[in-house]
Structure formats: structure tokens, C-alpha cells
């Protein structure tokens, strides 16, 4: 049984690509056969976040247009042999692919993979329509900010109108110090407003920047965001994992980070 998951948000810059990379890598770590598809044609990024940018020969548009076989375009991950990336095209535009072509492509991949994860572009235009066309379920990424939440709400409406009813929310970049002093929406505030199921809360963590610099997803590491993403992966697979308490850095963590430098 394979599952097609679209990772979307409406607003840009909230962490869709980071979430795609980490959830995909996490599922591969759990032994699943996973393929990540970057559907952001013209602005490809998932390849750099995964650290695979030097291995691209063919891309999504090449596969759709029949310039190569699927196998030739799939890039194997550096660490996990059961994890693959189908990169997007950098020099084409969103209209190079239709929703029907995407659905067909995804159907083909279903035969071989347990999880097909689609990294959706920002916005609600053609790229979004392509990304959701073959999806069974969606992870919506939002941050605790009014603009991101408003867009997430709009996306939820559009997904439901497109018959995608399994929708889970990832609240990204939450800062407990700000929540505690009342200057940031809490997890419960966001859930109250959006009324969807929560699948994970990822703390604002500078290790994300470091891992992106290195091109190595941090899922499963001891970093707060690494733990949060590992839990999200378990929940994606249907495990019931309690939500961890997110706290600000403790005195010892701050001390430790000083010595790491």
C-alpha cells in the first residue's frame, strides 16, 4: 500500500521544502521506500536541501515529456539507498506540466514506492494544482503567524474542494519563550483557528539552518527540530506518538552551545 503525500502551505518560506526533506528522510530511516518529488518548476530547491544538487541529470519535465525513463531521472540519496529524489526543472515554467501528467507520473511511482512525497510550490496557481492532483493526503505547513495561518486556511478549503480530506497540520518554527510571554500564537490557538488534525509541532531551531547549509536533513538527530521531525514521521506511518513539550533552551543547552563553537 503506497501513499501519496503533498506538502503544502500557500504562503512561501514557512518550511515546506525543509519539511519534505526531513519527513522523506525520516520515513526512509524507518525502512520505507520513499521518493521525493520537487514540483516547484522554475524554482527548484529540494535538491540543495537534500545535498543532491550535483547529481542531477534529468528532471521532472524530462520524464513527463518522455526525454528519459523514470529510472534515469531518479537520484539516489547519499545515505539511504531506499530514498530517491525526482528534481524539478530549473529552466522551465509551471505550465510545462499538467495535473493529468502529474497524476500519471505519481501512479507509475506508486508501483515501486511506499511513500511518494510532493513538495508543493507556494501559491494556489498551476504549480499547486499539479502538486495536489495525484495526492491521497496533505501535510500543511504553517508558522504561528497571521499571514501563514490565513493562507493555510485557504489551502485547506481548496484541498477539500479537490476531494483531499486527509489533512494534517505541521506548526513550524514555534518559539516557546514568545508563546509563554503571550507574543506568539500557541499550538492550541492555531488548532482552534484552523480546526484540522495536528501531526507535529517543530520548534524554531538554528540547527535547521546548519543542516540546510550542509545539505543533510537533521531528522532523527538530538536537535529539537530533529526529534520533532522524527515524531512526525512516526505519526505519518500511523503510530500514536505523544506530543513532546517544547521548551526554550535550558541553561545547560545554552552552555553546551557555547562550547560547540
Amino acid at each position: 500500500m503506497s501513499e501519496v503525500i503533498v506538502i503544502t502551505s500557500g504562503k512561501g518560506g514557512v518550511g515546506k521544502t525543509t519539511t519534505t526533506a526531513n519527513v522523506g528522510t525520516g520515513l526512509a530511516k524507518e525502512g520505507k521506500k520513499v521518493v521525493l518529488i520537487d514540483t516547484d518548476i522554475g524554482l527548484r530547491n529540494l535538491d540543495v536541501v537534500m545535498g543532491l544538487e550535483n547529481r542531477i541529470v534529468y528532471n521532472l519535465v524530462d520524464v513527463v515529456e518522455g526525454n528519459c525513463r523514470m529510472k534515469q531521472a531518479l537520484i539516489k540519496d547519499k545515505k539511504y539507498p531506499n530514498l530517491f529524489l525526482l528534481p524539478s526543472a530549473q529552466t522551465r515554467d509551471k505550465n510545462s506540466v499538467t495535473p493529468e501528467q502529474m497524476t500519471k507520473l505519481v501512479e507509475e511511482l506508486k508501483e515501486e514506492f511506499d511513500y511518494i512525497i510532493l513538495d508543493c510550490p507556494a501559491g494556489i496557481e498551476q504549480g499547486f494544482k499539479n502538486a495536489i492532483s495525484g495526492a491521497d493526503r496533505a501535510l500543511i505547513v504553517t508558522t504561528p503567524e497571521v499571514s501563514a495561518i490565513r493562507d493555510a486556511d485557504r489551502i485547506i478549503g481548496l484541498l477539500e474542494a479537490n476531494e483531499i480530506h486527509k489533512i494534517d497540520l505541521v506548526i513550524n518554527r514555534i518559539r516557546m519563550d514568545m508563546v509563554n510571554r503571550g507574543d506568539m500564537l500557541s499550538k492550541d490557538d492555531v488548532l482552534d483557528i484552523l480546526a484540522v488534525d495536528l501531526i507535529g509541532v517543530v520548534p524554531d531551531d538554528e540547527n535547521i539552518v546548519i543542516s540546510t547549509n550542509q545539505g543533510e536533513p537533521l531528522v532523527g538527530s538530538d536537535a529539537p527540530a530533529g526529534k520533532a521531525y522524527a515524531n512526525i514521521c512516526k505519526r505519518v506511518m500511523g503510530e500514536d506518538v505523544p506530543f513532546m513539550e517544547i521548551t526554550g533552551p535550558t541553561f545547560f543547552q545554552k552552555l553546551a552551545s557555547v562550547f560547540k563553537k
Binding site: 497571521v146 486556511d153 514568545m178 503571550g182 490557538d189 483557528i193
Partner: protein, 86 residues
């Protein structure tokens, strides 16, 4: 809006965000654009003005979500009366 301003100031910015979002999403979801709201507002002014003198500047209408979620959204109007016509 003076009363509202001083009321909001006591809230933390997180609460302000939540209140703003709740209002915003109700109007987003109902597909009721600010332009439509303006038309509704002008019609309300026309009708009520037949019977009493109102403060058109201070008139405020909003679509709000009832606290009881099962009841659905409601149109809330705050219409200050200057003078009741005889």
C-alpha cells in the same frame, strides 16, 4: 474606535493575532469581500436613516463567528444613533 483601541491595548500581541485571524477567516471563508461589506453597510445606512438619525461614520459591521460553533457565522452591526426621529 476609541473604546476598541484601549480595549485591545491590554491584550498581548498573541491574543490580538488570534482575534484578528478569527474575524479575517470568517470573512475569507464566507467569500464576503470588503467591497460587498461596504455595499451592505451603505444599504443599512439608507434603511435605518428613514427612521432615525445615525452616525454613519461610527457604523461598524462585521461577520463574526458565534462562540457556539454550531450556530454558524453572524452579521454583527454596531450602529450609533444620534437622534430618534419623531
Amino acid at each position: 474606535m476609541g473604546i476598541f483601541d484601549s480595549f485591545f491595548k491590554k491584550k498581548s500581541s498573541g491574543e490580538v493575532a488570534k482575534d484578528r485571524l478569527k474575524l479575517l477567516l470568517v470573512s475569507d471563508r464566507s467569500n464576503c469581500s470588503p467591497e460587498t461589506m461596504e455595499l451592505i453597510k451603505n444599504d443599512i445606512i439608507k434603511v435605518i436613516s428613514k427612521y432615525m438619525e445615525i452616525d454613519a461614520e461610527g457604523l461598524d459591521i462585521q461577520i463574526t463567528q458565534n462562540n457556539d460553533e454550531t450556530e454558524g457565522p453572524a452579521l454583527y452591526a454596531n450602529i450609533p444613533i444620534r437622534e430618534l426621529k419623531k
